[in-house]
Symmetry: C2
Subunit: 428 residues, 2 copies
């Protein structure tokens, strides 16, 4: 699709319960502006996807999430299967009704939890180990090991809730995602970790490819349960190995998925993640939407957008908010933040004593509810006093920060000054 | 004031920053309808006052509190003095601006914490020991004893936050409440417990009377700091002793307070509380507003209204909400609730397995945000999954339950069918 500076990002696809589609309205190099159409409305891309693991974006009512400009959210099949049960959600008419969220939603396949409750908990590593030091090990470590067994037919795992044993197969995952009723569902995959070697990663990838075919068949052989169409994305795996990523991208691209997600181990930092995307992206069909799984730090967003990704989900903005880390374009500023690396640059720690009497909003110029009504001093008070409202207000700000960042990125793409914005936000 | 069945509860007092006043618009026996006018707006009485101890009604943004029909809220001087400091609140222009709550507010004097962090923690008893079994002992017990020393000039206490030593005097309390800037502030008092004998309760009451005079003098000798008038209420003490309550009521009634609060030990249950109110109320000047401190269970509200109280605050509706106890007019129903006593009648425990697939709202016919959008099954899921949103939605419902209850009580008073409503709600 050629660049067209005058094209406005408006979609021509019709809306309604059978709607699903994606239009690239403008390309700039590999970066693109687009419109994703779903039964629950449209999403202007590139877009950040907020995480609502247990059918709630932690700490916020859905109206508060929507007021931040968040266009779509991500829920987790594994968690909802275990609690309250996909059948309970289905009895409500699907996730949108269950949780009162009328906008587009995605669910994952459960495959990521194989990783996060298996290798990640066993080895204490995260998806991109060095970007958020410490974050990967925050989840409670279960007392036993061997929570997960990967077999050809699927994955056997023990519940983190009650220790009971369960089996996920591609067919089972698709069936559960039919019950949950998200607009976009994912093929069942295994997400390998940076600790897996090339041989294991390759065997796993090949199994994931066989599961991709089975997911497609299960999806084609079943009907939506809640009166609207669902879309199915395939997942590219292959770890941080070029040969494998290229094979996986080509294979997944060859299948009739509605869109493509890039998942799995994205390497040991931004440089390796960028490499993985550089290997993968040229092999993806340009007309299909692309979702990058689990990335959402500021630098990562710029890197993903300029490498042709359309949507990306990440717990960072909401999880950081709950620990008092508020996203700002300037961050702490000064020496301390330079020492603390790229992410410290874009956050302040509201517990810091220097905010005790600070009557300014979290971020000057921010149009979020929190910045419109509350001072840093009040937010610090709430956090120090262990009041839930602090986490709510921080989550509102961080989600709005992400939505605004993406608004600015879309604007910059439209006006052909993406590189300029990136320099401005990330520094030289 | 004679009963007037045609009088509508509209006030003639002018509004504005200097406004404070109270008009009884209709009397039914000792019960009355009224309008309380403050610099931050009017309150139709009888009214329930939600508790916002640390400058936040726990778990809710102020807009959510207001949407429940909550007309005024109560914050605690002791807590805010220790954290973030009354000076920090004052720098914001007072509590309303600090916490973004534009409606009327009250602060207590700090005197209640003398009780709740002294006798209550030492002996494990509550204000009305038998009404909410277990509630009084929920606060964390500090490791040491002797947190509080009552002296003639004031009360020396150790902070529950950091163990530091502080002195509250009537003058200090008024000064702090000037900084906090609530519409209604309370005279400094000592709140005795059911474990204090008559001799101690009498000595304490007499000291509280001397503190009442000093509070009035300190209040008259200081100006509001935030551009609007504040009102000062005196506090009737005297424990569950008739002789003392009558002396205290007469004494406090003789002083030029703007209103009168009934505080202290209200006895061992509703019967004793009712006695205390029966002794006290006839001695109070009918033209002044009366606040009953710390009562807010359904039966207690009816008892207080019919004994001429105009406002009452209680943590019960919000605290219960956070533990999954949702207020409903029907409650659990059936035998279990009959066994569990008067308060079980008006609450359901959302953790109960029988709600796992219950697609009904918390309470049929309730017009709150929670009942309009969510099922019992979703609420149970949020509580089981430890999601904050569960506590938020439950708090919204419980505050709306209290606001609706008081709306119905005001309506019943206007239509002269209070006794009928009481029978309907409380049973025979």
């Amino acid at each position: 699709m050629p660049a067209d500076q005058d094209a406005a990002p408006t979609a021509t696809l019709s809306e309604g319960p059978d709607a699903f589609g994606f239009e690239v309205t403008l390309s700039r190099g590999r970066a693109r502006l687009g419109v994703l159409t779903t039964p629950h409305g449209r999403v202007l891309t590139p877009a950040f996807v907020a995480v609502g693991t247990q059918a709630t974006v932690k700490s916020l009512a859905p109206e508060a999430v929507m007021a931040t400009g968040t266009q779509l959210i991500f829920a987790n099949t594994y968690h909802l299967y275990l609690r309250p049960g996909a059948d309970v959600v289905a009895a409500h008419g699907g996730l949108h009704r269950f949780m009162n969220f009328p906008r587009p939603m995605l669910t994952d396949s459960g495959g990521f939890q194989v990783f996060s409750l298996g290798a990640s908990l066993e080895h204490g590593v995260g998806k991109v180990a060095s970007i958020f030091p410490g974050e990967a090990t925050r989840a409670p470590k279960p007392s036993g090991k061997g929570l997960v067994k990967v077999r050809e037919d699927g994955v056997e795992f023990r519940s983190h809730v009650d220790g009971s044993t369960h089996l996920f197969t591609p067919e089972r995952s698709i069936g559960l995602q039919r019950q949950l009723g998200a607009d976009i569902v994912l093929a069942f995959d295994e997400c390998t970790s940076p600790l897996h070697d090339e041989a294991y990663t390759e065997a796993s990838m090949e199994r994931t490819h066989r599961w991709a075919v089975r997911s497609l068949e299960a999806f084609a052989g079943s009907a939506p349960l809640h009166g609207y169409r669902q879309a199915l994305y395939g997942i590219v795996q292959g770890g941080a190995f070029r040969r494998l990523r290229e094979r996986s991208a080509a294979f997944v691209a060859s299948l009739p998925f509605d869109g493509i997600a890039v998942g799995g181990n994205l390497g040991k930092g931004h440089d390796e993640m960028n490499q993985v995307l550089d290997w993968t992206e040229p092999l993806l069909p340009p007309e299909k939407p692309r979702h990058l799984l689990g990335i959402g730090d500021v630098a990562g967003v710029f890197a993903a957008v300029e490498r042709g990704m359309d949507t990306f989900d990440c717990v960072m903005p909401t999880r950081s908010a709950r620990s008092g880390a508020l996203l700002t374009l300037t961050g702490d500023g000064g020496e301390a933040s330079a020492k603390r690396g790229v992410n410290a640059r874009h956050r302040i720690n509201i517990y810091n004593a220097r905010f005790a009497r600070d009557l300014r909003p979290v971020e000057e110029g921010c149009d979020c509810y929190t910045c419109a009504h509350y001072t840093r001093a009040y937010l610090r008070h709430l956090f120090k006093a262990d009041e839930q409202l602090g986490q709510q207000l921080a989550t509102v700000h961080n989600l709005r920060f992400m939505a605004r960042l993406l608004e600015r990125i879309r604007e910059a793409l439209a006006e052909d000054r993406f590189a300029e914005l990136k320099r401005e936000v990330l520094g030289a």
